[in-house]
Symmetry: C2
Subunit: 229 residues, 2 copies
DNA sequence: AAACGCATTATTGTCGACAATCTTACTTGA
DNA sequence: TCAAGTAAGATTGTCGACAATAATGCGTTT
């Protein structure tokens, strides 16, 4: 039915995996709903073969759970899982910040300061804005992660965990976060990295993420489920 | 050909994934070798369908890399990847130890002390032994990980990363490690946990893993590839 | 003799159909 | 009326075959 967005990829299976991921993260396929292979195959206009491969991939990403002879279900977001996930993020991104403190070049640091300044300017311009957590190269966290130079860490954080984290952000609408406070924390982390203070960078990154998780928790306690798209 | 070990599972795909994982970790399928779908399907006596699903799973575990229209290859162990992986372990198991310091019950702590004593006794009995890193419930690290009560962390460490780590241990034969030193470190970590000193437990666990990674690095620099089984 | 191009071959990607299992609805009995 | 058993339907798991892409080998050309 919605075969509109077709990101041509080398293989059908990858396409489907990509589209399914988006559909789940944005809520077009609601939480806890069953994944019907015949139905989805028809919707996306493919056979069940590639679709199944895509589902297996999504299981690896933790977006769906599968039980033998029964099928796949979209995960159901809940506070405990969110806290668990963010605790992992704390450990991993903390380590990334620590590593970045020794691996980042002067130019990289400079470029990141510019990014922060840009965010600051953007905030000053639109007071009401919600500091949209943009993915891509403009995301502070992604920059730090890549700066760690640790291939495994990068892959885990940006490919395997990213989808679920995006999903939590998306579905709780994340309104509570104070963008100016977040920006201040980003700057403090970057300062520590610029001074090659790995311990401090890790500590600050952990606090930063821990704070975000507390806010998300509050949001999840008060706000119900978010609507699609 | 080697259809001897058949762990009956609910679905063929799981079986194959399990067997393939073992074959790769033990070296029966050598590093860097190509995974031929027709060949393996014939060997295991299944069609290509379930086999492909298994391969997708292995890709998620990081045991093989796949390129479209070309196929899958077993990963090639190298020092840099090992160091990257162990750095992640440091962050994650360090966090697990920190969490365990607050979540472990008195009985659990007691039981772990008993396990350590058992290991000690085993070491005193067989002086020459290499303190075989047993998996299962007798592994100190696994106990700590599970004690963290963090489902996501547990799944990541024991299901996703475990295979690769096992592979590194296996292929470098890990002879260098000083089992008595390792045991002393285990005891120190447990002491910290028993005293509910999360910071210390994390620090000690990190050092412990870091030390192991250094030893593995030396082993990989001096020892060549290990033989199967 | 070496290199380029083309044809052949083999492997991967995809599809539709069959088998096995689970779910659901109905019937039957207490 | 409710419960249990059973049969029908639907869904997942598996298979073999076809299509598309990559790898291989041969012949031609310079």
């Amino acid at each position: 039915m919605n075969n509109l967005i077709s990101i041509k990829s080398a293989t059908l299976s990858e396409d489907i995996a990509q589209q399914l991921t988006n559909a789940i993260v944005t809520g077009h396929i609601p939480q806890g709903s069953k994944i019907s292979e015949p139905e989805l195959a028809k919707q996306y206009g493919v056979s069940r073969g590639p679709l199944r491969e895509a589902i297996v991939k999504l299981e690896g990403l933790g977006l769906v759970t599968r039980t033998a002879n029964v099928g796949a279900r979209v995960i159901q977001l809940n506070i405990q899982d969110m806290l668990d996930t963010f605790t992992m993020r704390e450990a991993l991104e903390g380590m990334a910040a620590r590593l970045a403190a020794t691996t980042m070049s002067g130019e990289e640091v400079k470029s990141l300061y510019q990014l922060i300044d840009k965010h600051q300017a953007h905030l000053d311009a639109n007071q009401d804005d919600h500091y949209v957590q943009q993915g891509g190269n403009d995301d502070f966290h992604l920059r730090i992660i890549h700066a760690s130079r640790n291939t495994k860490l990068i892959r885990l954080l940006t490919e395997e965990l990213y989808a679920v984290i995006r999903m939590y952000r998306r579905h709780t609408a994340d309104q509570r976060s104070d963008p100016r406070q977040a920006l201040r924390e980003h700057r403090a982390i970057l300062d520590a990295i610029a001074n090659h203070e790995g311990d401090l960078a890790e500590l600050l990154m952990r606090r930063h993420i821990s704070r975000a998780s507390h806010l998300l928790k509050q949001a999840m306690e008060h706000v119900s489920v978010a609507s699609p798209s």
